[in-house]
Symmetry: C2
Subunit: 350 residues, 2 copies
DNA sequence: TTGTACGCGTTATCAC
DNA sequence: GTGATAACGCGTACAA
């Protein structure tokens, strides 16, 4: 046994009388070792209590099966759900994921990435939008981004445009007098911006009256309550007696607006129909269940890892296309719930 | 440059004319290298584009700075929040975390652990209760569990008993006629069971009328809606015209009950006061903000990593107490919100 | 089928 | 200060 009280191939070799090579082959190409000898080695393993050392294996083979994951936060359900789905591809691909969260400065994110690269990660999944994709591409390993600017790297994104269309067409189907989109001002290059474009295009093409309420809402319920309340008051003033179909930028916002309505009316009046985005838990747990557009998080995660695995394999085989960005788009799914029923769904279960 | 197009100490050595040893010392004990030579090496680093290889360092030093984390799920806010907090200790302790989620069978969890051990992890944080702590202790590396059975390993837990007392005393302060605890049947050995004991003890000691509603509620909003609705109907029948103070086992349950109430009354009537547990986002996003007992997740996570770091250091120094379990308990914090105000907080902002 | 010899990139132990 | 040399534990020609 070596100094660090680790059992090594050497120990098994001297115990069994074989060479280290044979022990190595026993693990990697068992067929090339006699059944008899396999038994003897197996016995030695148990006797010595061998535990394999992947680190040494990595160094020798140059394959770590490490993949880095960088996320902005896990407090939003969307990201934590995405992370679980990514982690759970372990069974299929065997990648071990080293996760970093919460970098807000480009400088810090670069430190993370360098740290990850030092661990010889074979690929990187990025959900932050702190670093431009050009910098990411410069890492010289396969990178897949999810729902962010992706010009120079591969990516998987939700079809946000289609999501916007799905949301507003659900509202339109329920005979709204006015269609309203409530959102924060956003950079046009982030994928979520396309939701708004889908909303507008649909309204224009179908000659439906619509209105945009663009306010700085923030991303947490607390920060958004007042601005959403203001937006609500504005709707009440601007469109009294009209049936208002509101497409909110996400479910948290939709829930916030719903709460404003209930606090005023005690129920969901027929002049309001709401659609959110994300199919987050709050959409089901709200006082009235919220119709929403759900990104297929499981599909997105699987596609991201699958795409990454492909790129990793291409790179290992020296494929010249390994560096060529591939962009996948996943269509979202519409969930019709109580907030678009157009009747006060009193005393019903969700 | 080596085959795998990695720049190594050897490359820097031949570029600068020094030996590999000097390059190594340049990184680890810079003082022992002349300023002049440091500059020359720095220049070489830039010229060659050197990137450090932690895997080789691990093999040579025997220190990975890897820590394994095993969680049941990330879909519940409690776990995802705990994971972020753990991950974010990176800045302080430098541990890289390899995360596994979703093992339900002891067999699968053992496979995960063996995989982690093969990566030479220095410690393990476990939040699953799939494996008994006796098995975990047998891993022969420092283990810290959070909020689970912990007889044979170190742990950090919430003071659940105190949490139960805090919750019910808040209700008691608001002159309830009957105190009700709503919960699922639970194993007595899981830490959360103590919440119930705290509730009962407080009621008994203060001679307050109380009642337990123990139903199989499940852990998701969907599964719990019907049983909670039944519990609500039961309260309406059993205690009409009485002021009911309900301590729910968690915020999701409290929100579910709150929704049942609002759907019936359109507001929160004065005969109901609710307290949840966990201070999860839903407690702030519900139609009326829910009073709750918050586990100090940030503190728990920090203490867990700190405890683990201590045990790791003790083990490395051959301290005989390295294997002795240490149990830390973190007191929860009470959040008083609208559901215990006892008046219908109509049109107020949260 | 098995063994020898060397490489993976870094660190530790000595000498000088 | 610096440099040879031998670890660390495993993989892999190549030879036997």
């Amino acid at each position: 046994m070596s100094k660090k009280n680790q059992v090594t191939f050497g120990d098994i070799a001297s115990y069994t009388g074989f060479s280290k090579t044979t022990i190595s082959r026993f693990f990697n190409k068992p067929d090339t070792v006699t059944k008899d000898h396999q038994d003897r080695i197996n016995e030695a393993l148990a006797a010595l209590g061998y535990k394999k050392n992947k680190v040494a294996q990595i160094l020798a083979k140059g394959k770590t099966e490490f993949v880095g994951v960088i996320l902005p936060t896990l407090s939003l359900h969307y990201f934590s759900e995405m992370l679980v789905r990514v982690l759970n591809t372990y069974r299929e691909y065997g990648y071990k994921f080293i996760v970093f969260t919460g970098s807000n400065h480009a400088e810090e994110e670069e430190r993370y990435i360098n740290e990850l690269l030092a661990y010889q990660i074979e690929g990187l999944i990025v959900m932050n939008h702190t670093l431009p994709s050009e910098k990411l591409a410069a890492c010289n390993i396969p990178v897949v981004t999810i729902e962010r600017e992706d010009q120079f790297v591969s990516s998987v994104n939700c079809d946000n445009y289609m999501g916007g269309v799905q949301a507003v067409s659900l509202l339109a189907k329920h005979n709204c007098d006015i269609l309203i989109h409530l959102n924060s001002p956003a950079y046009t290059e982030i994928p979520a911006y396309r939701r708004r474009v889908g909303f507008i295009d649909f309204c224009e093409e179908n000659h439906l009256p619509y209105s945009l309420i663009i306010k700085d809402i923030g991303s947490t319920y607390e920060t958004m309550y007042l601005p959403v309340k203001e937006a609500f008051d504005q709707m009440e003033t601007d469109y009294p007696d009209k049936i208002k179909g509101v497409f909110c930028s996400n479910d948290t916002t939709a829930n916030c607006l719903l709460n404003c309505i209930i606090r005023k009316y005690g129920t969901l009046p027929a002049q309001y129909r709401l659609v959110g985005f994300d199919n987050s838990p709050i959409a089901k747990e709200a006082i009235y269940t919220i119709s929403t557009v759900g990104q297929q998080i499981d599909v997105i995660a699987r596609e991201a890892v699958s795409l990454l695995a492909e790129k990793i394999s291409m790179k290992r085989n020296g494929d010249p296309d390994a560096g060529t960005p591939v962009h996948k788009v996943i269509t979202p799914v519409l969930y019709c719930r109580e907030t678009t029923e157009g009747v006060s769904p009193e005393r019903k279960s969700p």
